[in-house]
Symmetry: C2
Subunit: 345 residues, 2 copies
């Protein structure tokens, strides 16, 4: 089978590609080729794999070729992030809304052109986000959001993600694709540099101290938020892809599993795993812009449909930190040799 | 003040224009000009009014001129209807999604170009629809939908309306417009011919018998549905326009008032108002296509936010029929001289 991962050179996309290559199969079929479409070049380890076809350029450009190209399944992860979308309204509409529609239309036209009788439409997993939830004056947000909570997004990013969920549902209803939308929780610990997302500090306050670098937490310790590790997130995307339509249930987006935690608990876990000296590298300095964005985010999430698919959150934030440390020791993330310089021993 | 009504030559648009011209003011300002943008020519009575500027052509075309033209307020009613959108997917996306976005962008660029300090963004009322509600396997629909029911639309029309609600909310949040979305209930009694909407029979089973014409009801008498009269609908749009942002509450769409009724009650009201001979002109012959679409619609609606604005539904369906008869006698709808030929006396 041939797969396409948009945003395939990104953090989640590359990890998904590595996981899929290691498995060798998806939904009972051998994986023969994975196209990684991204604005950035693919990591070297992926580019070196014979099954990987890395393509660099805007997604809108890739979509043209898709109309005739062979593809059995798509993981659509490409996206401008929340901070970018707030700063540049047109960029958000183009990167998140127009590109998704072009992708769906390409798959639709491919399906229409497929003359094999009963040919299945391409399966697609769309990575939506917990950012679809937010408080509206007319619709208070519950402390814990669920699969059936009414999304009233308070950022352009959240609006665009939610709009795309509805497009995926309608293209699926019409039989143009076999689409599923999974709402990612905030993924932590992300490697590398802050990425412009307002949620970036949820990784920074763990990653920087482990690297021996001081970190600033822009919100108060009581801030609560649903998070997930990179690997649980990737496992969730794969499980949603492999679910039968009946098991997925309906066409509405589902929440991926969340570990509901607080900044204070995250830092306590950091001390538990890495010691008090590492924990001491984090200090609090409120950033009004970020704090105001975060104040509109849910403080926790429940993922009943994902649980029915067998997907569960991590047991503790310490486990998430241990996953990051193990990744660094195993050579992931690529090019971060100093990622654990802050750890004693 | 200068107003734009998209779909201004349509049934609701023209009635809205007549109501506004008769009032002479909106939100405390004198109405000096109303642009009616529509694919069809405006009714003669409107075209003859010096304050009316009727423009015929696709909405996408009109939007170009809007970027520099003067407009204080917009009622955005133009839309392809549900049956059309199911039959022609691209038409629905173009007419409902692309046109709305072009309109919002035109207002946004106008606002950005307005160098008067503190110039208010254009106020906009978007006519959404009760069609945003539908049952999804993962999200059962309540019998009575409310302002906070999660929309999981089961038609392209409903999907597109709901997407536009979210665009209106985000353009409003950003300060580009002062937007409000009001979900219209099924408007009945519509004059003229069936219009391609799957809900067309909700008018046909009243209108045709009153005109002395036999009518077929394609669904069973037990079918329940939230409806509203043309005038209550227009009054609702005006009230939503005039509401302060605080009174409107948040940025999420609200339901306009609904009279929750059944086909059997509608026909009983017809007999009450027009006599058994008129009622006898309706017979039941199930149309699977229409019945299946209607089966996915809500059986009733509640409109708490509209009620807080002072908007209430009709007391009975007989009142709705009486409004239609009074309209016909007063010369509305224009060009329907035989509309009451079926009435005795």
């Amino acid at each position: 089978m041939q797969l396409l991962i948009t945003g395939g050179a990104g953090f989640i996309g590359a990890r998904l590609a590595r996981t899929l290559l290691q498995r060798g199969h998806l939904n009972g079929q051998a994986i023969t080729r994975i196209v990684l479409a991204d604005q950035a070049p693919a990591p070297a380890d992926l580019a070196a794999d014979a099954r990987i076809d890395a393509r660099v350029g805007p997604l809108l450009q890739h979509c043209e070729g898709l109309r005739s190209g062979a593809v059995d399944g798509v993981f659509h992860l490409a996206s401008a992030v929340s901070g970018e979308c707030e700063a540049d309204f047109d960029l958000g509409l183009r990167s998140n809304l127009d590109s998704t529609r072009a992708l769906l239309d390409a798959l639709r036209h491919r399906q229409a052109a497929d003359t094999r009788s009963g040919a299945a439409p391409a399966r697609l997993v769309f990575s939506s986000s917990v950012a679809v939830y937010g408080p509206d004056a007319a619709v208070p947000m519950p402390a814990i959001v669920t699969d059936t909570t009414l999304p009233t997004p308070q950022t352009s990013y959240g609006i665009q993600k939610h709009i795309c969920e509805h497009l995926v549902a309608d293209y699926t209803r019409k039989g143009y694709i076999d689409g599923r939308s999974a709402r990612l929780m905030t993924v932590t610990v992300r490697p590398g540099r802050p990425n412009g997302a307002a949620s970036s500090f949820f990784s920074g306050i763990i990653r920087e101290p482990l690297a021996g670098v001081d970190a600033i937490c822009p919100v108060s310790p009581e801030v609560a938020h649903p998070v997930s590790s990179p690997q649980r997130t990737v496992d969730g995307l794969i499980a949603v892809y492999e679910a039968s339509r009946d098991a997925y249930g309906g066409r509405t987006a589902l929440n991926l599993p969340a570990l509901n935690t607080t900044v204070a608990e995250m830092l306590a876990a950091l001390e538990e795993v890495a010691g008090p000296a590492v924990r001491a590298r984090v200090r609090f300095a409120r950033d009004e812009r970020i704090a105001n964005i975060v104040a509109n985010w849910p403080t926790g999430a429940r993922a009943d449909r994902a649980a029915a698919l067998g997907l569960l959150p991590e047991a503790s934030f310490a486990d998430i930190i241990r996953q990051y440390i193990a990744d660094c020791r195993a050579g992931h993330p690529v090019g971060q040799p100093d990622a654990l310089r802050g750890l004693a021993g």
